[in-house]
Amino acid sequence: MAQVRTILLPHFEDYPVQVAMFKDVTNASFLRSQLLQANPDFDYAFLDAAMILSPLPLFLAITLSLHSTLSPATSPLRTRTPHSELVFRLHPNNNIGESYRKFGISDDTTNLIAVKFSLTPDVTNESVAKHLSEAVQGVSVDVGEDGSELGLFADLSKIKKIYKVNDGGVKGKGGKKGVTDQVGTVKDERSALENIIMGVMTLKGS
């Protein structure tokens, strides 16, 4: 049985989100074809795990998508479903097709993250786990409570490229005297990148 983590975002406690991660997936092309056919059984946000740096940017995309779904008056959905909105929200630009090409799965995706909103009572952790176990051919990866595993397969160079972050990382970081950086630079760079990504996602469409 696939491991599915139910995530309760602050302020959206009434709208649980089911998240699952798989590695060594062999049938990505099948999953993609189901998405293209808009098969209602496959109404998921399937994401290429290489494009997810860490849990926070993904949670932000989920939050923004959920917010658009619930408050269309101030933040209208710009795609057809909450799940497509999630994929769209991750991308810095306003091109839906491009968002799917970069953040959605392709035929040769092997590590993927599946997200499903529990907007109706019939979508539960169990129902999603059951369906994904049948649908996805791959190894289920357990996602912990904090979601830290979601960034496991991140491809930093691809992510930096799409959010237009120079390879030198963030300029001037830690260069000044008196700045106490006990944390290693690798972690520092990641959190700086994470902050940029969330800023870019927030400003998208402005």
């Binding site: 302020h11 926070l56 408050s71 101030t74 300029k171 000044k176 959190s191 902050n195």
Partner: protein, 300 residues
């Protein structure tokens, strides 16, 4: 009798205020729009423009600040929306830009500019204002007690802190951003390893002038600038002016704290002068600004 002119001029749209928010005695004046639920919500400050709350966002242990700009009932709704949107976006853009350039500022976690909210990362620590207040308190006490000998170590630390403030402002200016409201309350001393432990009680970690000021707070930590609500990208031909006004506002904040704090500001300027190549021009301009005040004369 109504004059003919007044009778013919029709208002373009009725200046009817939007329906006032339900008066809720438990929360002052306004309620946050969706998605924000009252759970885990704490009002931190209320300014003329915005209400600032502390809550969590994205995960239950990610503390954040929600800056909500409520609609102004006295403004035309269309204008109100446009102003709110422009201000939220200006603040968010400046913060993202500064973050990209490595200036320590709060991260941007989300926004809905139509609804009027902006979510920013929580900065754990205390303000430089609190540090200065505590310090002046101790200076006063020391003078009374004639125990100046213990002051030297702290003095050195304070000067180091000032120099870090100077270079931080220099860094901000060097990327073409003016803060616009640079007071000591808007400069935070981020407590070290604040990213690792997420406290939820909202108490500043750096103690202010508590308990007669015998305990000297640690001055370690990263200088972090907050409240970019009035910040702007500097226009090249007036960059010196905008930078100088930032420094002038800060200088006034220092001298307002205590006369003893004025020599400290010299250290800020010293570090600022060495921080970027445009600093000399700004410091020169600061002398003009001192003579005339913050506001530029519109004459000549």
């Amino acid at each position: 009798m109504v004059s003919p002119a007044a009778a013919t001029i029709e208002p373009i749209a009725p200046l009817r205020p939007p329906t006032p928010p339900p008066s809720n005695p438990s929360r002052p004046l306004h309620t946050l729009p969706p998605p924000f639920t009252s759970s885990n919500l704490q009002l931190l400050a209320q300014g003329a423009e915005a209400l600032v709350y502390k809550t969590t966002f994205l995960t239950p242990n990610t503390p954040c600040v929600v800056k909500y700009r409520p609609p102004k009932p006295y403004r035309h709704p269309t204008l109100d929306r446009r102003l709110t949107k422009a201000r939220i976006l200006a603040e968010a853009r400046v913060l993202v830009r500064a973050g990209r350039e490595g200036v320590s500022v709060p991260r941007v976690l989300g926004a809905d500019w139509e609804a009027g909210w902006l979510v920013l990362g929580w900065v754990e620590g205390g303000s430089v204002r609190a540090v200065l207040d505590g310090w002046t308190e101790r200076v006063k006490n020391r003078r009374k007690a004639y125990e100046a000998s213990t002051g030297h170590a702290e003095e050195k630390e304070m000067l180091d802190l000032m120099s870090r403030i100077g270079s931080c402002i220099g860094h901000l200016h060097s990327i073409g951003i003016a803060h616009g409201d640079l007071t000591t309350s808007n400069i935070m001393l981020k407590s070290p390893s604040a990213d690792l432990n997420s406290t939820t009680n909202g108490q500043a970690a750096v103690p202010s002038s508590t308990s007669s000021g015998s305990a000297i707070p640690s001055l370690a930590g990263q200088i972090t600038l907050i409240d970019f609500g009035l910040a702007s990208h500097m226009v090249p031909h007036s960059a010196d002016e905008e930078g100088a006004v930032d420094l002038y506002v800060l200088e006034r904040a220092f001298s307002a704290t205590h006369p003893a704090a004025e020599p400290l500001f010299a250290e800020v300027l010293k570090a600022y002068g060495q921080s970027w190549k445009g600093a000399k021009g700004v410091l020169k301009r600061l002398e003009d600004v001192r003579l005339r005040g913050r506001k530029r004369s519109m004459l000549g």
